[in-house]
Amino acid sequence: MAKRNVEIMVGLFVALALAALFMLAMKVSNLSGLQGVQGYHLTANFDNIGGLKVRAPVTASGVLVGRVSAIRYDTQQFQAEVTLLIEPQYAQFPEDSSASIFTAGLLGEQYIGLEPGAEEVVLREGDELQVTQSAMVLEELIGKFLFDKASGE
């Protein structure tokens, strides 16, 4: 009988540990991330993506609608080509929607904001977002500001 109790306790112990691993895998880390997510892909070309990373959030009006699934450099157009994976329930973005790269807070991470357009035709798998706005690079902004100041006087 005592042996049975010992075995039950050990079984419980191992089960608890597996539950902890499951929680760390699913809830804390990104194992459940992109592979499991269904959705459709959109591409967008940017002159400068700043510090945008794969897995960065894609939001519309601040609501998370998808994630960045790939970033590569397009040697034909000399621009960064970003692939977005949008969740299937948000499939009604008009064709003339625009994508901009924003920064969360002053020092936060960068994410993509989608601004819906007004066309009737909606974007489908593999379509490209035509209107894009690059990331703000702080050095560029400061440079521009100083240049304007100097030329104004």
Binding site: F13, L21, A25, K27, L31
Partner: protein, 259 residues
Amino acid sequence: MSTYLQNLGHSVLDFFERLGRGHLFLWQLLLGLPLLLRRFSLVIQQLHSVGVLTLLITLVAGLFVGMVLGLQGYNTLVDFGAEESLGVMVALTLVRELGPVVAGLLFAGRAGSALTAEIGLMKATEQLSGLEMMAVDPFKRILAPRFLAGFIALPLLALMFSAIGVMGGYLVGVQLLGIDEGAFWSQMHAKVDFVEDVLNGVIKSVVFGLVITWIALFEGYDAMPTSEGVSRATTRTVVHASLAILGLDFVLTALMFGS
């Protein structure tokens, strides 16, 4: 003068002799492992005394470490308006460092010392010699199951420590201090990588489990067979195992996250 030199030489030789005995001991432990596959009930018995009985202190410590991390992290991050990153901070700290290390230190104190005392007393009361007289190999029957159990138990304990620590951080951060719940989890989700962070933490705790159990069993086996010798060996286990964890943690961190 020559006595000083002799003392120095003696202690150096002593040290290397112990080191050599320690490694031979590890080799014999490893030789004993294959037999355990057929008698796994021996390991389960030890998993109970090494793992299950260490569970409570690990869980309580994990919860409070997570809560303190949440509280202190919030105070620092709120100045930068970045309190949403609290989840990332708590999760990475726990999964990468504090989970394996603090669980390891607790394990060395709670289970390692018990192992040393048990083995040391078995030696002092000549139970180990008795087993040998009956042609039962104490390495296979007594030491190897304890070794394997410690090796299995610590990674499991470290995982639970990290998981409940994150819950503690959540309790303080979200429920008490009012950080947005979605931001807390989603930022954590975005920044913590399963292979890079969680699995590397598990690898750390596997290494710690091996080293702690090895030190504990060897100190017990090598103890002077007197009550004073056993008590000294127990102290040495806790001190040496703790130092080994902290030193190895730096080496492993440099290897895993350094470049």
